[in-house]
């Protein structure tokens, strides 16, 4: 456990000091850390899912607090929690099946009924609350379910599955599911790139913004399939990562044009489609992307150009944005915009009244509302923004959406 604690602290400090950049790297590191936490944590014979959930949640809280703007951390924590719950439920279902196989008298029949109902109830607590789930589940179904699990263990004598074997099995299943998750994070851009040929056609002009590995793979995959098209890359001030993307695309043989962000509105009428990568996708279908993206989205809407967002599912966040321009934004150093040497006289605090007249604001992110997005291409297919809530319901449990507040109370 000491080893794990060290790993946790290391990642926390990395996140706090913003040493880790990019949602994919963050997501992978978080998932790997949680995998270590799961494999190292001591599990009691009973109530395994609950213990694991507590352990993961404790670590997750620290990670989220270290960098609240990096939504991928929270996403992965919630995904892992959902995996644990799911494995726990399927385990219980197997247990109930096994129980039913063993011969029982009247007593067992009643207990079995309860188990069945409780597992059904608990399963519906797994999905987000819906109208019918509201009526089926009881508030303490989770705890009663887990105690039923323990009853299961103590009561059975003639069961085929050994409880110890089942507990090892459970951990192994969870870890293998987390491995799948890590694999998905690493290869999502390849899966998305396979869909490229359906969306990009001959003699098209694509506009993209900044640098996104997913977009790069997407465009290159279409190029592989012998589509000929041109790409406009908006440079994405103040980091100018668009320059990097343009170089990479040109190296792969694509015809690339670099434009400034301010030229987007002027050039958009010559473009057929806008394809961008983003930082995070919110539950209402809105996206958090690099600063300047909102402008591109507006330009696209004005000229009725499809605004397509390519994203891996690890960027899907179950939270709804309230005041995202402020609460989900980060102000970066002004030195990226203005160099200190030239402007030191304006920014000097010692002149005159002591307050500088020149302020530099350098937000890192932009919020694009869902009305401006035409399509999301994810590694599970293409969806419209109003469908995002379904994907979220598939990947996250409603109980996990609020991670911090429960512990604060």
């Amino acid at each position: 456990m000491v080893d794990v604690q060290g790993l946790v602290d290391e990642l926390v400090s990395k996140l706090r000091r913003r040493k880790v950049e990019g949602s994919r790297a963050t997501a992978r590191l978080t998932a790997e850390l949680l995998r270590s936490v799961i494999s190292q944590s001591k599990l009691p014979a009973t109530n395994q899912p609950a213990t694991l959930i507590d352990a993961v949640r404790g670590v997750g809280e620290k990670l989220i607090a270290a960098n609240p703007i990096e939504l991928a951390v929270g996403n992965i924590v919630r995904r892992v929690l959902h995996i644990i719950r799911e494995e726990g439920h399927s385990n219980a279902r197997d247990a109930v099946e096994g129980f039913r196989l063993s011969v029982g008298g009247d007593n067992d029949y009643i207990v079995e009924q309860d188990h069945l109902n409780l597992s059904v109830a608990a399963q519906s607590s797994l999905c987000r609350p819906s109208l019918h789930a509201l009526l089926e589940r009881s508030p303490d179904s989770a705890t009663t379910y887990f105690t039923a699990n323990s009853e299961d263990d103590s009561e059975e004598k003639s069961k085929s599955l050994d409880p110890n074997a089942r507990s090892l099995e459970f951990r192994r299943k969870v870890i293998s599911a987390v491995n799948d998750l890590i694999e998905d994070i690493n290869t999502c851009h390849l899966v998305i790139a396979e869909l490229a040929v359906e969306h990009i056609h001959h003699n098209e002009v694509i506009l993209t913004f900044g640098h996104s590995r997913t977009v790069k793979e997407f465009l290159c995959a279409a190029k592989e399939k012998k589509r000929s098209f041109g790409v406009f890359v908006a440079e994405g001030a103040p980091k100018y990562q668009g320059h990097l993307l343009a170089k990479e695309l040109a190296a792969r043989g694509l015809q690339t044009t670099v434009i400034t962000d301010s030229a987007v509105f002027a050039m958009i009428s010559r473009v057929n489609m806008v394809i961008v990568g983003v930082h995070a996708v919110m539950a209402n279908g809105g996206v958090i992307g690099p600063v300047g993206l909102n402008m591109v989205a507006f330009a696209a809407q004005k000229h009725a150009i499809p605004f397509v967002v390519v994203t891996g599912t690890h960027k899907l966040c179950p939270l709804y944005p309230n005041n995202p321009e402020v609460s989900l934004n980060e102000m970066r150093s002004p030195s990226e915009v203005l160099s200190f040497e030239e402007f030191s006289d304006c920014m000097d605090y010692r002149i005159g009244t002591g307050a500088s007249q020149l302020h530099v604001v350098n937000p890192a992110f932009d919020y694009v509302p869902p009305e401006l997005v035409s399509l999301f291409i994810t590694d599970i297919g293409g969806y419209c923004p109003s469908y995002m809530y379904r994907l979220i319901a598939d990947y996250y449990s409603s109980d996990d959406v609020v991670i911090q507040q429960k512990h604060a109370s």
């Binding site: 987000r128 819906s130 109208l131 009526l135 809530y389």
Partner: protein, 409 residues
């Protein structure tokens, strides 16, 4: 519109003037009141169909037939079942006063309305919740020995509750939800009727509890969206919205509220009184001043009488107007509605609902030639709403139909 067709002229010959609608019945195609056409159809239908146990002139015939065709327990089926079982003598659509006055009415319906009134006396309880609790009491008090009998009793009780106020959508929706739950519950798999019944009672009680707590859940969910220094525009007196604002005030958030006057009910005055007690800065506006002040407003908060399948809402007259203005000025419109208000309605335009008329007092006598638009509520389409806060969570309007499908199919 079908009321301009020739068949309308033919139908007009069958029109009997309803006692409360003298002014509009004389005018024909110009009239906007839809009271007469549905009445002709339903009285037509009622005359033609002696087995219709619910001849309700106020519910639009479209929805009556729709309910009959899509409900699990249809009225025809019910009539046949009743004929088979030996029905109780209280099928008639007696108005509430008559029902209470006549002791010869069947004990069960009498009980229901009484029980309903008892619950309704609590000032904070919504009508639909009172209805749900009353229906739960019906199950408890019922002497049925089979599931079918119980269903029949519940259906009758539910119908008499609905007839108490035919224009209230939340009441109808609440009853329908409850009925739907009863007829579809997996408790029916129990072999023993008594245990099934006790399970039903337990769940019905829980439903009642959840509906009571719904307001608090909604208040908690919406806290994130109210930030310090914001201006909220509120329309109509909704206890849910009041709860939201109360909780925000208790959490020491700094915000101010613009209240529309809400003629002719003057709900705005009531709301401003309540808010003044909470020390929240309130400003009263006349209904026409909404567009004038909309640029100072940060968000619009309304309640709902009902949430329809498309994700739109039915609320006090004026809500649609405010939503249109807010949408054109890019202000978010948030709706706070409990989940039992989700109704199986799909209005295609403003007139496509059961009319709810109310008398308007202009303060001066109006010549009888002048018509008055007396409808009490309007329909706001989903594209003008940003988010719905319900006890199921924060939802976008597109999620509503999903929820309803899951429950009703």
């Amino acid at each position: 519109m079908w009321w301009r067709s020739a068949s309308f002229i033919l139908d007009q010959r069958h029109v009997e003037d309803p006692p409360n609608d003298v002014a509009s019945s004389s005018k024909e195609p110009d009239t906007l009141s839809t009271l007469s056409p549905p009445q002709t159809y339903s009285s037509f239908m009622a005359a033609a169909d002696p087995f219709n146990p619910i001849p309700n002139p106020k519910i639009s015939a479209y929805y009556q037939t729709r309910a009959a065709h899509t409900a699990v327990v249809t009225s025809d089926w019910l009539a046949q079942a009743q004929a088979a079982v030996g029905h109780h003598p209280d099928d008639s659509q007696a108005p509430q006063t008559q029902l209470l006055a006549s002791p010869s009415a069947s004990g069960k319906s009498f009980c229901v309305i009484n029980e309903f009134n008892n619950w309704r006396k609590q000032p904070d309880l919504a009508e639909a919740v009172a209805a749900i609790r009353a229906l739960a009491a019906v199950i408890r008090a019922s002497e049925a020995t089979t599931m079918m009998e119980l269903e029949i009793e519940l259906k009758k009780a539910s119908d008499s509750l609905k007839s108490w106020d035919t224009t209230s959508i939340s009441l109808t929706a609440g009853c329908d939800l409850f009925m739907r739950y009863v007829t579809r519950t997996s408790a029916l798999e129990y072999e023993d009727f008594n245990s099934a019944r006790s399970r039903l009672i337990e769940r019905a009680e829980k439903f009642g509890e959840i509906s009571c707590k719904a307001r608090r859940i909604i208040a908690m969910l919406s806290q994130d969206f109210i930030f310090d220094g914001c201006t909220i525009l509120v329309h109509g007196f909704s206890r849910v919205v009041l709860e939201v604002l109360k909780t925000a005030a208790q959490n020491k958030k700094l915000f101010r509220v613009f209240c529309t006057e809400g003629r002719p009910d003057r709900t705005g005055l009531r709301l401003s009184n309540e808010l003044a007690k909470l020390d929240v800065p309130v400003k009263l506006l006349i209904d026409s001043a909404v567009a004038y002040t909309m640029d100072e407003v940060d968000m619009v908060f309304v309640g709902a009488d009902g949430v329809v399948e498309s994700g739109g809402i039915i609320n006090m007259m004026g809500t649609y107007q405010i939503a249109l203005v807010a949408h054109s000025m890019n202000k978010p419109v948030y709706v706070a509605a409990e989940s039992y208000k989700f109704a199986r309605l799909y209005p295609l335009d403003q007139k496509d609902m059961a009319p709810a008329l109310r008398p308007i007092d202009f303060g001066v006598p109006i010549p009888s030639k002048v018509e008055v638009e007396r409808s009490a509520r309007d329909y706001t389409p989903p594209q003008y709403l940003t988010l719905l806060f319900t006890d199921l969570g924060v939802l976008t309007p597109s999620v509503v139909s999903d929820e309803l499908i899951q429950l009703y199919l």
